[in-house]
């Protein structure tokens, strides 16, 4: 029982991070119908930006954790958004009228570029960040097991819920959100009514990258170590989450992220920690075979 509760807490935390990344995959797929394979690496870049920002702030003498964290979030979101924007501008937009696989190949290329760039610039070794946010609560204490809810976990889950609420509101209620949904449904018609499609697509990448940036910071705070390869692993899992939830669906990405986080932690706890990454891949394969539209996805609507 205690193990179960602890894994539930860990799984929800992990699922929050996956969910935030998954939104970026699903939004881009929704609007231009491609899988942005570089998205996981944008997440990785954000974790490095956050680490460098933290260390810089400490060197500058800004050590108050709330202030430092606030500044890091601002810096990482801004710079990561720039990466997201640049990836689209450089690698995808020129290929938009090309054959369907071209942007996908370009995306794989961008993924490799970002990984190698960080590997060369930052080295291949694991980078640690000293724990900034300590403490937490002991929820259950028995002779054999202690269930802990750490402050970092609270921060991760609360931030994720707040961001997802804000983001859902933007999509459902604002002019930008309406334009994005219009582009997602019919790019040609969207431009016929005067929507700047290029700008809307750019903003989609920017928003996706900004959410991935928050996920990158949380990943850094939660695990305390990062390397240039975390983007690939987290990217595959978040992508799986998006497919599981139904690619193109925003609630689906959030739900899928949560489920993948839970499955992974329970798998590690009850089966084998070595094979935890296999769990995500297996789910991806199973979902693609038996539930290709995902849990909340819709069957492809025929275009007129």
């Amino acid at each position: 029982m205690e193990v179960f509760v602890q894994q539930l807490i860990n799984g929800v935390t992990l699922g929050s991070i996956y969910g935030l990344i998954a939104i970026g995959y699903t939004m881009v797929y929704g609007i231009i119908g491609m899988i942005n394979f570089a998205h996981g690496d944008v997440f990785m870049v954000s974790a490095f930006i956050a680490l460098i920002a933290f260390l810089t702030l400490v060197a500058l003498g800004i050590t108050a954790v709330p202030l430092a964290l606030f500044l890091v979030v601002l810096i990482a979101m801004a710079l990561t958004s720039l990466y997201g924007w640049a990836v689209e501008r450089v690698a995808y937009r020129p290929l938009r009228r090309s054959f369907r696989l071209a942007p996908l190949i370009s995306a794989i290329g961008m993924s490799i570029v970002l990984q190698n760039f960080v590997q060369i610039a930052q080295g291949a070794r694991v980078k640690p960040l000293p724990p900034l946010i300590g403490g937490g609560y002991t929820l259950i204490e028995s002779d054999t097991f202690v269930v802990r809810l750490s402050n970092v976990q609270i921060l991760v889950v609360v931030t994720t819920i707040a961001l997802m609420a804000l983001f859902s509101w933007v999509i459902a209620r604002t002019r930008l959100g309406r334009d994005m949904r219009a582009c997602e449904q019919d790019l040609k018609m969207a431009s016929l009514i005067g929507i700047d499609v290029d700008r809307t697509i750019s903003l989609t990448f920017v928003i996706g990258a900004a959410l991935a940036a928050v996920a990158g910071i949380m990943n850094l705070l939660y695990y305390g170590v990062i390397d240039f390869y975390i983007g690939f692993v987290a990217g595959v899992k978040a992508f799986t989450a998006a497919v599981l939830g139904g690619i193109g669906s925003l609630p689906g990405a959030m739900l899928g992220g949560l489920l993948i986080g839970l499955i992974e932690t329970f798998w590690s706890a009850y089966f084998s920690i070595e094979y935890k990454d296999v769990a995500a891949f297996s789910i991806l394969v199973i979902v693609l075979i038996f539930l290709p539209t995902g849990i909340l996805g819709r069957p492809e609507i025929e275009k007129v």
């Binding site: 949904r181 219009a182 019919d186 018609m189 009514i193 005067g194 007129v304």
Partner: protein, 254 residues
């Protein structure tokens, strides 16, 4: 091009045309779709373009919006060259289109579709414009919060026209508004177009296969065959031309 008096009131307009298409050639890859089209639409007119399937009518409507772009020739709006302008910038000139296939945003509500139609319009007019469109098409009023994709074909056509009207168009392009509709609905929609033209001086460029109805409604018409304009003139002239009667009226649907 001078226009002879027709059954309706319009006389030959002396001013420069609102829309002027000159020598436009459009290709899909290497396949030619428009082979040098010349055509004018004057302010306050209803002009129709008729022609058989695959003649290039929809291609011309979309070429006016730069998608696909004319490879040769020019498109002028109020004397201004818009041939190379981005599609969304052309829309901002208050040219609106209810395109072929209606292209309703199916997963958005009727209201959202109409709001999107007003994207380029001054928001100050929205409430009043919405009211007018809903008066014109009362069926939309009852369905404001229904998803566009769940509307019937006729209702979708009304929504497509309503969405275009909310852009406060100076020029309204309608691509086969009668397609797939019951005769009563066709008459309603055509009556609505006539009313907008007479009361608000709305300029309309109408593509139709339903040549009889279209020529009854329009002041002038053009006939397109295989990417070229083969005939033009006042609606009455065209209605009486034996070629038009043979090809588009007799035995054809109307």
């Amino acid at each position: 091009m001078a226009t002879a008096p027709d059954t309706r009131t319009a006389s030959a307009p002396a001013r420069a045309p609102l829309l002027s298409v000159r020598g436009v050639k459009t290709y899909y890859g290497n396949i030619v779709a428009l082979r040098g089209v010349d055509l004018d639409v004057h302010e306050g007119e209803i002009v129709t373009l008729i022609g058989a399937n695959g003649a290039g009518k929809s291609t011309l409507m979309m070429t006016i919006f730069g998608d696909p772009r004319a490879r040769e020739g020019t498109v002028l709006f109020e004397g201004r060259d818009i041939t190379r302008m981005p599609t969304n910038e052309i829309a901002k000139l208050h040219i609106a289109q209810a395109p072929e296939g209606r292209r309703i945003f199916g997963r958005m509500t009727v209201l959202e579709n109409l709001q999107l139609g007003a994207s380029i319009a001054d928001p100050a007019f929205f409430a009043a414009d919405l009211e007018r469109v809903l008066t014109l098409f009362p069926r939309l009023k009852e369905r404001l919060h229904q998803r566009g994709g769940t509307l019937s074909g006729g209702e979708q056509q009304m929504l497509a026209i309503g969405r275009a009207l909310l852009a406060r168009p100076r020029l309204l392009l309608l691509d086969e508004p009668s397609l797939g509709l019951a005769p009563l609905l066709v008459r309603q929609i055509f009556a609505a177009i006539r009313e907008l033209n007479e009361r608000e001086k709305l300029t309309v460029f109408l593509v139709e296969q339903n040549a009889f109805h279209a020529l009854k409604l329009a002041h002038r018409g053009y006939v397109m065959v295989n990417g070229e304009i083969t005939l033009s003139g006042s609606s009455r002239e065209l209605l009486n031309r034996p070629e038009v009667r043979a090809a588009y009226l007799e035995g054809g649907r109307h």
